[in-house]
Symmetry: C2
Subunit: 316 residues, 2 copies
Amino acid sequence: MSTATCLALSGGVGGAKLALGLSQILPADELAICVNIGDDFEHFGLTICPDIDTLIYTLSGLANPETGWGRVGDGTQFMETLKCLGAESWFHLGDGDLAMHVTRTQRLRSNEPLSNITADISTHLGIKAHVLPASDDHVRTIVETTLGDLPLQQYFVQKKCAPEVTGFHYMGADNAQANPDVLSILSAQTLRAVVICPSNPYISIDPILAIPALRQALINCSVPVIAVSPIVGGNALKGPTAKMMCELGIRVSALAIAEHYGGLIDGFVLDPADEALAPAIADLGISPHIAPAVMGSLRDKTLLAQACLNFARSLH
Amino acid sequence: MSTATCLALSGGVGGAKLALGLSQILPADELAICVNIGDDFEHFGLTICPDIDTLIYTLSGLANPETGWGRVGDGTQFMETLKCLGAESWFHLGDGDLAMHVTRTQRLRSNEPLSNITADISTHLGIKAHVLPASDDHVRTIVETTLGDLPLQQYFVQKKCAPEVTGFHYMGADNAQANPDVLSILSAQTLRAVVICPSNPYISIDPILAIPALRQALINCSVPVIAVSPIVGGNALKGPTAKMMCELGIRVSALAIAEHYGGLIDGFVLDPADEALAPAIADLGISPHIAPAVMGSLRDKTLLAQACLNFARSLH
């Protein structure tokens, strides 16, 4: 673990794209990814960790490129049968994907830490990067809405992000122990850069930062911390980030994201579409850096990853 | 439930064949099947009820005709992924089949009785017969072998019935409450016959009979109780019955099965191949009846079912 030169903080789909880019250019073992666990939940008695799974599927080449989540070519017999049996079917679980949830749940029940299980599954799927859940404890993102508090997956999948958001909290974060591997990477001499991936700040990155020891370790760490904007040209690259910002009365702008991470980051990567915001970001005491932030192809991901590493090196 | 005119006692594959035959000739609602729960077990944190499932799949036309268990055309992506993840894979779970285990386990965890869940699943799959687990409590068949005690599925699936059997016991049976619907059927005026299906007596029927109130109700019931021999011509129709009998020092013969059920049954159905045993069975005080007991086709199953009902009626 002490071999990691880059620690990425990531949620699901958007973050996994940059993590994949980083995995293409960093030598095996030099990339560690601290993954959001705030959207983990229990469904049918199974513990489902959507962001860990998306990251694992993306890094192992098993991800479904059309959805960004789930496994490519995965079957639907489980879901079809569930419906025949009259069971809840709002959360899709693919036939192969289920093996992940079933085996992980069984191991969690025998008190194996999530971090161990994640490492073992990663190894079995040939992943060289260290995939590190932010904590082995429970942290659960609760979306505060005008309809009341909703656990993240209910808001996100069951209600399709329709309820109006008024805030967020992260159940369990205050008392969660940070993953000790993440803490040791953050204090190790080998580390060169921390990259906050272009994930949703409220539901993907903040649940990680809400773990007190992890946030403190990030503040204390001596290497450049940079974030990549999930907002390009005043719109979210993916998901409900822009809608949430609107509802929270925050202007949908890369600048607002930089402000959100103020005090934690040294540099901020924004798309050429947002070049005009660079001076305002510099005014926040954060170094701006322009790089194409829309990651369609693997080449886009790799180029952005390289830009991030070069930028971080320049801030040393 | 009080509409049942026939109560069948059944294990998995062999019993399900006769139950299917009975379901073809009895009017909807007149057939109730009391199913073995002794081979239920926990696997990956899921409660798996192999005999209930085989019966449900058989009665709903979903059974895999080649294996006798599992669903026809069921996928294997779950099992293939499990193997990739390095998880145990000795017990096969099909992709669609998993929906049964996952939804049942979730409902059991919320304290819904197995009998309710089974009834609801049966209804969803269009089954008219009453499928009744012998108990809502746990009864677990333990196979005593020269290698020590083995839970049934470990003996049956993992060890492929190889260990030498010295006996059986039925954990939990002494304190298990009988399914009240089975008890009420056994004491109802509408009942006309009890049929012990040609299942393995030691691992399919005895775990049912080991539940004290159920055994007593069977002894007390006023209608003819008949059993169908799972041994034809000195061999088991299916599974390890003959091997078990050998190892227990019991002669592999339909007569030994009739003796095994002595005191409980009024009539015994044996195949024409075993016609010579009829006088010896009559000597036990049990009426013998000859009928083709090998059930290849649906017609075979229906004919045997009709023979059983006619025979029981003749014993009134």
